[in-house]
């Protein structure tokens, strides 16, 4: 599991002493930019797998490997500090999408797809 630091903060003329670092792993599409975090802790409240932890100034990315890409964190982050590619992670739906040539896997009777 590699923690990839994508971009350091420029920090040239602003008074901000915190470094902006975008972190993620190659296990999933979750990325977190601590520089954008306003410490509202919504991601902490909504994550079902304890990926985030409270921190002194900003939230910390404690267990990115546990992320299941549900998207709750990104959706409830008011500043866009957390980003993830969420979508249907069901093998049957993906196979169906691949076979029917459609792009996105979906669920539900209205789409004529899998789960009711």
């Amino acid at each position: 599991m590699d923690v990839e630091i994508v971009a350091p903060c420029c920090g040239s003329t602003c008074a901000c002493t915190a470094q902006t670092v975008i972190v993620g792993t190659d296990l999933n599409t979750l990325t977190y930019d601590s520089g954008l975090c306003v410490n509202c802790e919504m991601c902490l409240a909504v994550c079902p797998h304890g990926v985030f932890e409270a921190g002194p100034r900003a939230v910390q990315l404690a267990h990115p490997e546990c992320c299941m890409e549900c998207g709750a964190c990104e959706r409830n982050c008011p500043t866009g500090a957390v980003q993830v590619d969420s979508g249907v992670g069901c093998a049957a739906a993906m196979i169906r999408a691949a076979l029917t040539g459609s792009k996105e896997a979906t669920c539900g009777p209205s789409d004529g797809a899998c789960c009711g």
């Binding site: 296990l27 999933n28 599409t29 919504m42 902490l44 409240a45 909504v46 994550c47 079902p48 797998h49 304890g50 546990c66 992320c67 299941m68 890409e69 549900c70 998207g71 709750a72 959706r75 409830n76 008011p78 590619d85 969420s86 979508g87 249907v88 992670g89 069901c90 093998a91 049957a92 739906a93 993906m94 196979i95 979906t106 669920c107 539900g108 009777p109 209205s110 789960c115 009711g116």
Partner: protein, 329 residues
Amino acid sequence: MSELGDVRRTTSELAWHDRWDHILARWGVNRSGHRVTPGLYALGHPTPDSHVFVTANYTLSFDALRSSLAGVDGYILVLDTKGINVWCAAGKGTFGTDELVGRVASTGLPEVVAHRKLILPQLGAPGVVAHEVRRRSGFAVEYGPVRAADLPQYLETGRATPEMRRVRFGLRDRAALIPVELVHILLPMALAAILLWLLATPLAALGAVTALLAGVVLFPLLLPWLPTQQFSSKGFILGGVMAAAFAVLVFVQGSDLALWRRVGWALAYLLAMPPMTAYLALNFTGSTTFTSRTGVRREMSTYIRPMALTFGLGIVFTLASTIVQWIGR
């Protein structure tokens, strides 16, 4: 009572027909028909200061919520999720910002309660943008615990512990998913068994049934104890163990058969059974709440071809062994 919508009454008690409905739902009977009418419900004797709890219009969701609120006076706002549970509906967007904002308005909730707070189940979060709900409806979204059963403690302490915010997938949770998966494979399994029994051997029929049942019943139960990380590889191992037993049976039982014919049958089991179990195991990823889309994609790109290949070879050996058997008669 609000003028814009009717407030229905509900209780925290579950009657026998509620429990029967749950059993039917668990077995996949009339899957999207287990619905509650969307709208606002009064639980107990709520006042304008009482809490508002939000849920999906799936009977299991609604019943889990209200049965956990015994003795509580409050309102339950039921969203129209087309009879789908909170988590799946959130993923699809039906347990979402627009539906929530719309339902608050159409039920006249601002006139019913004096406060401006909605308590949502945590697993609705993938579909709801809390700050947008606040902006559009004036109501603040508070995410309650994952499990309704933790609500009494949550209401008492005013906060959720980290444990309340974790989704677990214990033995009981996994076992609860077995009936619906089993119902899905019953027909194909019966057909395969009949076909193999009539055309090949009874043992072959049993082999097919074993591989399928291992994937649908054994796999969910044994999941955390099976070696390797990915479901497909775990499934291959489980199926492999079953297949090995059948291969051994072929050598022990069929001592009247020539060695090469026994080898043929053994290979048929060893090649055809594991991929069947592995495929069902791969599909089980869709029933869990901890496999990621990226992970499932990776698993599929790694294992779908080996599954197809080994299964194909297994069919070839089964056919060949069957033909040899017919010729010999």
